[in-house]
Amino acid sequence: MIYAPPRLVPAGDAAILIEFADEIDDAINDRVHACAQTLRAQNHPAVRDLIPAYASLLVCFDPEQIAFAKMRVWLRQALDAPPTRAPFAPRRIEIPTRYGGAEGPDLAFLAEFSGLTERQVVELHASVEYRVYLIGFAPGFAYLGSVPDAIAAPRLATPRTRVPVGSVGIAGKQTGIYPLESPGGWRIIGRTTWHLFDPACEPPALLQPGDRVRFAPLSAL
């Protein structure tokens, strides 16, 4: 369901969740990121953080600088105003990826799951231009969608205690790249040497919400 106008839901006394819809949809996600960009451009002194997600935008503010009710009025006005910036223009990024072998321990499972050969799984995964719906879970971790149904395998029943940095995984319709070594339950089919997150870089995250991403297989299987 799409909420028109968007719902402004209290999330404590220092944050308001703007809900645009309760479903995942590209047009709604575009709207979330456009709205985040508009609010960012307004540069309100009490706003501390904006967290765009699939269909919502969390606005974190300092309750000692602005009263909750005033923040809500300001948000309502900002949402009603026509966009002050050019429409959101996504960047296109290709990520070189080595599939299978030690770097993609779940590729064989994906082949079994889908009834395809490993090569076909790779081709299918690399055939899609994915959208960065949001960044969360860890610094620079982009939730990319949507994975073709044939290879939309569920998470591992028991997560691995250690997934190497750069691992490319699938969890249902989502795919993503681990920006840090961490525990994880996604099905790992490959790995990239690209750094998804480096706090010394500006911007520190390689991928940003709204970007379009393709995986480029590095070598023939």
Binding site: P10, A11, D13, E19, D49, I51, I135, G140, F141, P199
Partner: protein, 291 residues
């Protein structure tokens, strides 16, 4: 400079937090008890959110130069050069003196030093984010033999600045105040009443990321998966087992568990100062109506 003799466990450098990068998945971090850090900084003449040392277990330091110090937060003993000192007071430490700090029960303790702990700012903050291995001192907890640089002093007479005190009173009502939502409609109507009537025990799974609590279960009225959304500090997430997890300073920026209620900003620190095994009670804050 402060020299670390005994680092304690997971002792980190924290400031007011790394705001503005949550859209990139970067947690805010910062002091678990922001009020205590600001008080300590104020006592030693720093900006309120200057970087200090967050302490959770016994630690020993040595003052390499003359320093103005203050210790705040959870109840602790501290000695400088063998003299026991009160907390919430600015104290002068002569060069070469030994500083020993030990919590009485648990909780988070803050040591501020005039000039602030001088480590590089990473994404605008000196706070340590251990999982990300950045911020603070090389992205890690303090270790024995670390040498902590201190920012330049602007007070001429540190001895004269010592002896400032802050009076602290325990909160009048020990209940942690919450507001409903943002996903209160995912729960049975009685869930909010249960949350605010029952006692919840802080489990051993309580760290800078989140506090898992245990008590009367908080059943959902709706099944299915919530679409992941941004989550605020203090959010009370309810996974399928009905037991609450409260998000703390190093929490993930997004989450997919419904949030029954959210601890108000000024009370997150009260919850933070509860140790595993202690009980907490929640109460509804003055309500804020959704539109």
């Amino acid at each position: 400079m402060l020299y670390v003799i005994e680092p304690g466990i997971l002792t980190t450098i924290q400031d007011g937090g790394r705001w503005g990068y949550q859209a990139l998945g970067v947690p805010v971090s910062g002091a678990m008890d922001g009020f205590a850090l600001r008080a300590a900084n104020t006592l030693v003449g720093n900006a309120p959110n200057a970087a200090g040392i967050e302490i959770h277990s016994p630690m020993v330091l040595r003052a390499e130069r003359a320093h103005l110090l203050a210790l705040t937060g959870a109840a602790a003993t501290w000695e400088i050069g063998g003299h026991a000192l009160p907390m919430w007071m600015s104290v002068f430490a002569r060069p070469g003196t030994r500083i020993a700090i030990a919590p009485k029960r648990g909780g988070w303790i803050y040591l501020a030093v005039h000039g602030g702990i001088e480590v590089p700012r990473v994404l605008g903050s000196r706070s340590t984010f251990l999982r990300g291995k950045f911020g603070g001192l090389a992205g890690r907890a303090l270790a024995a033999e670390d040498e902590l640089e201190i920012g330049s002093a602007h007070l001429n007479d540190l001895v004269a600045a010592a002896g400032q005190r802050l009076e602290t009173r325990p909160p009048q009502d020990s209940k942690i105040r919450v507001t409903p939502g943002p996903h209160a409609d995912w729960f049975a109507p009685a869930a909010l009443a249960t949350l605010t009537r029952a006692e919840y025990r802080v489990t051993e799974n309580a760290d800078r990321m989140g506090y898992r609590l245990r008590g009367a279960p908080l059943p959902r009225a709706r099944t299915g998966e919530l679409i992941s959304c941004g989550v605020p500090l203090g959010a009370i997430q309810i996974p399928a087992d009905g037991q609450p997890i409260v998000l703390m300073a190093d929490h993930q920026t997004t989450g997919g568990y419904p949030i029954l209620a959210t601890v108000i900003a000024s009370d997150v620190r009260h919850l933070a100062q509860h140790s595993p095994g202690e009980y907490v009670r929640f109460a509804l804050a003055d309500t804020i109506q959704a539109d």
